[in-house]
Assembly symmetry: C2
Homo-oligomer: 219 residues x 2
DNA sequence: GGAATTCTTTGCGAAATGGTACAAAAAAGG
DNA sequence: CCTTTTTTGTACCATTTCGCAAAGAATTCC
């Protein structure tokens, strides 16, 4: 007995080290594949995206897709989760920051426009809004996710306005919940209009006007 | 020669009289068939609606559908035109009426909610918004129609606010164009949320808040 | 090296899809 | 009654769609 069998390396919490899986190694990275799937779904929507399209975009053939993510609907749901997670990190800092309310709103909408207008073949809009318009009607699970998405945005905006009110940036008479609904409505209208290829300039005009009404006129 | 061949009946302008067409008579009424097609497209969207579905709903078989309306895309476009025409007549009176601005907005949103929440199997939302989210991205013709729809609504709202301003219901400092964009944004947000089955009560809360901001706070 | 495991590849198949060809049917014209 | 015109009904075609089964390849475990 020369030496005890080499112990498996102590798994560090944040180790990106491949954990020595057992069989044939994957030919794809689940993360990037899911990203490609999300891109496609955002571009064409659920119904108009075929498994062949998804297969081509991810580089995985259909059985692999199926094995990794389940059927088309499950893949769509996982793509949506990914979108929400991405959006959360993109927005999170700004929502949490302690900037003046006006500055904060400006940054939020700027990031939103970046997200909605990105896309090589046309602006991709807001996936939550797109999904609400299509799949959410007939699929209860998807509907629940979309509703949670709306609610989360409403809450985040409301927290912003409440904080601003506490800091005296808004009059005591202002209603944070109401303002939040207006802020969300502005998000929704630019998301939709972006999808119809309204140019960024016009969307920014809408945003600036809305900000003016929300924090300018009320001050 | 007893009598000159009976002249074709003088065509009264609004005569619903069948004009004695030449061949086999139609087994459907184009108007109602188009209405059924519109219902389907609003429920499921373009991609998820098959010609079989359309055939079943209209009672026309596919060749007849094709002959009457052209291919699926043309049928979709004609359905959309029909939707816009219907919406115009439903909204037209209210927009033209000389009611106090607040009353007017209340009525407009009430009618909008009726349109968006109707539908036997779930609320059908706003067809313009739905189409903007899906087909408008890749189809220039459809995109043009959607953009015109947005613009028309913006203009109608702006005219409302301008008129209210002239009548002294709004301060001279108010910006009708800006207010119109807010009013449209409110339309868009309730259209989307309706589609996600947010109950009417909540949508009315959003509407009331928006009206308050637009004409209440500004007064 | 052989067994076990995990993923990939090929290919199939049953169903659905958009669109059309063609004959039969129903009406008017003569 | 025969022709012409227009619409219907049936049947079909080529393609696409989703999903899966079965065999092959790459890797670890013993």
């Amino acid at each position: 007995m020369v030496q005890k069998r080499k112990r498996p390396p102590v798994p560090r919490i944040d180790a990106p080290v491949p954990p020595k899986r057992r069989g044939r190694p994957r030919a794809y990275e689940p993360g990037v594949a899911l990203g490609k799937a999300l891109d496609l779904f955002r571009k064409d929507g659920f119904a108009a995206t075929s498994l062949d399209d998804l297969s081509a975009a991810t580089g995985m053939n259909r059985p692999s897709l199926y094995g990794a993510f389940g059927d088309k609907r499950e893949l769509f749901i996982k793509s949506y989760r990914r979108y929400r997670d991405d959006a959360r990190v993109a927005m999170g800092d700004i929502f949490r920051n302690e900037l003046p309310i006006r500055k904060r709103l400006e940054r939020i909408y700027a990031v939103a426009l970046d997200i909605y207008l990105s896309g090589e073949s046309g602006p991709r809009g807001c996936f939550t809004v797109m999904t609400a318009a299509s799949e959410a009607v007939h699929d209860p699970d998807i509907r629940a996710m979309v509703l949670e998405g709306f609610a989360e945005l409403d809450r985040a905006f409301a927290a912003c306005f409440r904080r601003a009110q506490e800091k005296g940036e808004l009059p005591a008479s202002a209603d944070p919940t109401l303002l939040a609904q207006l802020a969300s409505a502005t998000i929704h209208t630019i998301a939709i209009r972006a999808r119809a290829q309204v140019p960024r300039k016009e969307l920014e005009t809408i945003v600036n006007g809305a900000i003016e009404v929300m924090v300018g006129a009320a001050k």
